[in-house]
Symmetry: C2
Subunit: 383 residues, 2 copies
């Protein structure tokens, strides 16, 4: 089974349309992966996710390891069956969350000692354990344990984390046995192009079936992020999928697909939905705003999601004001639909040869959230 | 259009199967009406309610009057359109909630002065205003403003509330103009059979199209509630629908249908669902219980709802432990399905002539919740 196939590349940018094939089905790329952190995309059920055409979900190893525990999920037939999701799944290694614990964790070359944020219990996560856990969960795509430092211009710190990531990548490869899972390597190196080059070359020499780009969207300026994404994409094999971790604002998706990235995940669309921030083609709308109090039109008349097809902005405004549980589901359905449709449109544009035009037109209309709303999610907020 | 038609009566009990016809569709009775207090059945969307075969919903005038306000709902085309529910709706008068406000309200013969629980603003609810608001909301069935005192053996207090209810009923009738709405009277009189008789006779003389029984399930012993329900049913016209307000535990539904009641509403099934108490044919199951941690079967293997068809008890247990929003939707779907299926089964049994047998068999298997869990909801908890 061939994991990845490029179908079309954009002549004007680095963008590509591809097909990722897993034991649980095929996924057209570029693709956005909603977060099912604790085995549930917050506020949605699997039938909601099918209805909005989500194709692959991401489970967080850190959370699932602590609760309900890997033995429980194994006993219940693995993560797919546990959460009743029949499509493809990706799990991360748990590293990102553990490194976000700050004073609750200590790292050495062997692994990371951390305390659970739930009950304070002590755990030691090694590359081998990260793979063992992910084999137990049974996702289609799994990740090596890496060290993801926050944005820093301290080259020594970034370099140390990168070298540790390399050693751990090799140990993960050595421990991984399940043939029905693709194990991705993770390129680190911060915003240093020489370090990114060293990291990419080393990981490519280990011949992973796919590569993630870690350590971006961790506090660096946006233009720098786009630059590093573009340069790093150029260092990776053409025929392997590229997964840019933790990125999902509409403008970043457009820019980073343009850089040659294929896969994305981020808590942003679902988290801001629960705060009442809804995507439109012109930017985010704050549903709490009193201008929606009597608006009979939906929040985004261009959208075909259940929320926009069925309810006025006034009703959604009312639900948020009353803190009705339905508000969070409806807003989440809308924001994920917005992102998934945007990905579908970009894929279509790549295939039709009009991606550059789409990109320019989208970015000309879309007003990104003000930077203070747009602060890159701090790692610990991911918990 | 004939509002109500009896299809079959039970020869052994007072139970009846009927058909209630409204401008938004017909409803087979006995029927349970889920609460859409603020224009949303908590945690569910209209498509969920159609899927579980809910036929009529109940909106709370008190809440909708305060938020978003009647002018907003009128401007958006009425309550059906506002909440995107195409089926029948019933609204209460707001009286029950207002009388539950305790120190926040003062009553005289003219009406009730109360302060909003949201912003402390002062409002004066009269029988005329209760009708005006309900005409604005546009439900298919609306209710007179009544005074519903808590359980008391103080006959003077109960009698005063009853007489005020009678005067107000007449004022409501005088103010009601919409021909597409059925206005129901409400029988009061506490647990006094003579007062219930006086109230029923008076209201029947006003010739309402349907009658509610208020002032039960407000703290009185269960056997007394059943006795009063049975006696009161016997005082009402055979050919008019009878709505027992605020009752919905499975054993109470069975008993009160047996007494001759046709319509029911209560926050209980949805509220306890959000606390993790799930109905089964043997009683309530507490999903937090550790015995569910690894249970691969659904909570209620006899149930065909989305929740039970799709997820293990272990997954539901996990969602509740993690306080995932999906937990509340799945549990609500299950509890409402349980109640709605129970109603359908009783209707079928009445039609097939086997209701008494069904009742005996159900009650022999079903263990009601311990009384400290089962405390009748205090009126103020309804807010």
């Amino acid at each position: 089974m061939e994991l990845f196939r490029i179908e079309k590349t954009c002549p004007d940018t680095g963008a590509r349309a591809g097909l990722l094939t897993t034991p649980h089905g095929s996924i057209s790329t570029p693709v956005f992966m909603p977060l099912a952190t604790q085995g549930s995309v917050k506020a949605l059920a699997p039938d909601d996710l099918s209805a909005i055409r989500a194709r692959i979900l991401l489970g967080n190893t850190y959370h699932l390891y602590l609760r309900p525990g890997i033995e429980v999920i194994k006993r219940l037939g693995g993560l797919h069956r546990f959460m009743a999701w029949e499509g493809p799944l990706l799990t991360d290694s748990g590293g990102f969350q553990v490194f976000s614990l700050g004073p609750l964790r200590r790292v050495n070359d062997e692994g990371v000692l951390f305390r659970s944020h739930i009950d304070g219990s002590e755990h030691f996560l090694t590359p081998e354990l990260a793979i063992e856990i992910q084999e137990g969960l049974g996702a289609d795509i799994i990740m090596v344990l890496d060290e993801c430092p926050p944005y820093s211009e301290n080259a020594r710190l970034i370099s140390e984390a990168m070298h540790r990531t390399h050693v751990w990548a090799e140990r993960c490869l050595g421990r991984h046995h399940r043939r029905d899972q693709a194990l991705f390597g993770i390129v680190q190196g911060g915003t240093s192009i020489p370090l990114r080059k060293e990291s990419a070359e080393y990981l490519v020499s280990l011949d992973f079936p796919g590569y993630a780009i870690g350590g971006l969207s961790v506090g660096e300026p946006k233009d720098l992020m786009y630059l590093v994404a573009r340069e790093t994409a150029g260092l990776l094999p053409l025929d392997k999928p590229r997964y840019l971790m933790g990125v999902a604002s509409p403008e970043d998706l457009v820019e980073c697909i343009s850089c040659g990235m294929d896969m994305f995940d981020c808590a942003l669309p679902t988290r801001i939905a629960r705060n009442g921030a809804l995507f439109t083609r012109h930017g985010r709308a704050n549903i709490h705003n009193s201008r929606f109090k009597t608006q009979d039109r939906s929040v985004d008349p261009d959208c075909d999601c259940y929320t926009c097809r069925t309810f006025s902005a006034a009703y959604l405004h009312h639900l948020f004001k009353c803190e009705e549980l339905l508000a969070y589901r409806l807003a989440t359905i809308h924001n994920l639909t917005f992102i998934l449709r945007l990905m579908e449109e970009m894929r279509r544009a790549i295939i039709e040869g009009s991606f550059l035009k789409f990109k320019e037109s989208f970015l000309a209309n879309y007003k990104p959230a003000a930077s203070h709303h747009f602060t890159v999610l701090s790692p610990s907020a991911k918990l």
